[in-house]
């Protein structure tokens, strides 16, 4: 959210009506949806001065018409935002990340043989890409490094897209899990609908298939969590309570996916229930500290996850 602060090079910014003739409804709608300005101004007065509207009343009439139309259109578009596009984006993100890292290693190895100060990793590749190459070989090595930088930029752009799309596709899931984990869960399940139809026990171990099958063939204990391990609620809970945390989180994530798929409305109670449940689970660690040595996890296991 740093873009709300400084970043003044975009200029003072113009109103939504600027440049558009008052008849071009499509352009005005697009400006409302996509435009921006650093600071608000007296738009009604400026619009009258600019001849966009005859009076403030006339301005507000036009704004009403344009804002209702623009918002209706954007809502429709966003509601159509489709889970499969999100799946493509998250898979492309992973490919870019993996490829960028692999290629960065190669580029660093090569650059290290040509330049004294070549650093490893993507940042190292960025530095190499800035160099002025001398001769054929340096040219190739620098060029390779700049591909790495491009791939890393593409990865960052994809992350932003995921950040923006996930809340539209699955508002509750994205709020609960964060956009990236929400996208990954949807991708692992193959879509929002398949995810909504999975039992919470499956959601809990999505992404831990290897461990799950090792367990099913009797070679290992059952995995406590899959990709949801990346969630703060699981990762930052002490190890002996992580199973409970993962089970509670998976239960609510499953419900969130179902609400998102079947109704699409934000449901605040879901988020509250999870926050309360997590508070209870984490309180165990506190209790454990108070009456030390009381035989570990004696807390009755009354999870009853949803």
């Amino acid at each position: 959210m740093t873009d709300t602060e400084d970043d003044a090079e975009a200029g003072p910014g113009a109103g939504w009506f600027a440049g558009g003739s008052s008849d071009d409804q499509g352009a005005l709608r697009a400006r409302i949806a996509d435009g921006e300005a650093d600071e608000p101004r007296d738009w009604p007065g400026l619009a009258v001065d600019a001849g966009f509207a005859d009076s403030r009343d006339d301005y507000y009439d036009r704004l009403h018409e344009a804002s209702v139309a623009a918002t209706r259109e954007t809502v429709r578009e966003r509601e159509r935002a489709d889970d499969q596009q999100l799946v493509h984006a998250v898979r492309a993100f992973d490919d870019c990340e993996r490829t960028a890292n692999e290629l960065a290693e190669r580029a660093a190895e090569w650059a290290g043989s040509l330049f004294d100060d070549a650093e490893p990793g993507i940042e190292g590749a960025r530095a190499v890409a800035e160099r002025e190459p001398d001769g054929e070989l340096e040219r190739r090595a620098v060029s390779l490094a700049s591909r790495v930088a491009d791939l890393a930029d593409e990865r960052d752009a994809l992350a932003e897209t995921i950040e923006r799309t996930a809340p539209a596709v699955a508002p509750n899931l994205a709020e609960m899990a964060g956009p990236e984990l929400a996208a990954r869960l949807i991708a692992l399940a193959g879509g929002l609908e398949p995810l909504a139809k999975k039992p919470s026990g499956t959601v809990q171990v999505l992404g831990a298939e290897d461990a799950l099958f090792a367990h099913l063939s009797g070679r290992a204990p059952s995995p406590k969590h899959g990709i949801i391990y990346t969630h703060e609620y699981v990762r930052n809970t002490r190890p002996e309570d992580r199973g409970s945390a993962a089970r509670a989180l998976a239960g609510k994530l499953t419900l969130a996916a179902r609400v998102d798929h079947y109704s699409g409305e934000r449901r605040e109670t879901l988020h509250e229930e999870l926050r309360e449940r997590m508070a209870t689970i984490r309180a165990r660690a506190e209790e454990g500290k108070d009456d030390d040595g009381s035989g570990g996890d004696t807390t009755a296991d009354a999870e009853g996850d949803a």
Binding site: M1, D3, T4, G13, A14, G15, W16, R31, I32, A33, G35, E36, A37, D38, E39, P40, R41, D42, W43, P44, Y60, D61, L63, H64, S67, V68, T71, R72, T74, V75, R78, E79, P167, A168, P171, S263, G264, E265, R266, E268, E272, R275, E276, M278, A279, R282
Partner: protein
């Protein structure tokens, strides 16, 4: 309680045999109506609750308002009924669909599908020096949202804010959460009045503030 604290256009009316807060306008969510007046349920609306509890909102009717967290338009439709030009910001597409329906018959209600945390994205539409900001967003960092949006508010304007403790941190005591939020708020605002809304909304604090 006298009705002197209520803005013009908000009245206590007899609806379905009960005296209830009401505004005049087209119905939005199946609320009870009588003679063109629509009941304003304080249990479904933080601002409605603040009126019921007698907050000095500084609103007298006809103001220009920026409403943050408009959701399906329940409360903002009542605001548009008694206020002047009203900008309604909502981030989630699904409720915004209903918001658009509520806005359509209200000529001075402007729905915007925007994130209240990034004012840049609507500063090209929302005018400066609005008379009041009403905020009811249920995300973490509610005070931060109010601070970032202070740029829209006139120097003598009012911020009417409902802070939901559980959106910030369920594990903390609500009072602690409110204190933290008020501290952040004081960086841009002078706090005029605070009161718990628990009678209508559990673990919510109503706040009236004005720019420093």
């Amino acid at each position: 309680m006298s009705d002197s604290g209520l803005p013009a256009g908000v009245e206590r009316r007899e609806i379905d045999g009960e005296t209830r807060l009401a505004t005049r306008g087209p119905p939005v969510y199946g609320e009870p109506t009588a003679d063109g007046w629509r009941a304003w349920d304080p249990e479904r609306s933080k601002l409605g609750g603040m009126f019921e509890l007698g907050f000095e909102t500084g609103l007298s009717g006809g103001e220009t308002v920026l409403y943050l967290g408009a959701a399906s338009g329940t409360t903002v439709s009542h605001v548009a009924d008694f206020a002047g030009p009203t900008y309604a910001v909502e981030f989630a597409p699904r409720p915004a669909r209903d918001l658009v329906e509520a806005a359509e018959p209200r000529e001075r209600l402007f729905p915007l599908l925007k994130d209240a945390r990034t004012p840049r994205r609507y500063a090209h539409v929302v005018e400066r020096d609005v008379d009041a900001i009403v905020q009811d967003v249920a995300t973490r960092g509610q005070a931060e949202v109010a601070v970032r949006n202070a740029r829209f508010l006139a120097d003598d304007g009012q911020l009417l804010l409902a802070i939901k403790a559980r959106s910030e941190d369920v594990t903390e005591d609500p009072e602690t959460v409110f204190e933290g939020a008020l501290d952040r708020l004081r960086e841009a605002y002078e706090i005029l009045e605070t009161q718990r809304l628990d009678r209508f909304h559990e673990d919510h604090l109503g706040v009236v503030a004005t720019p420093r």
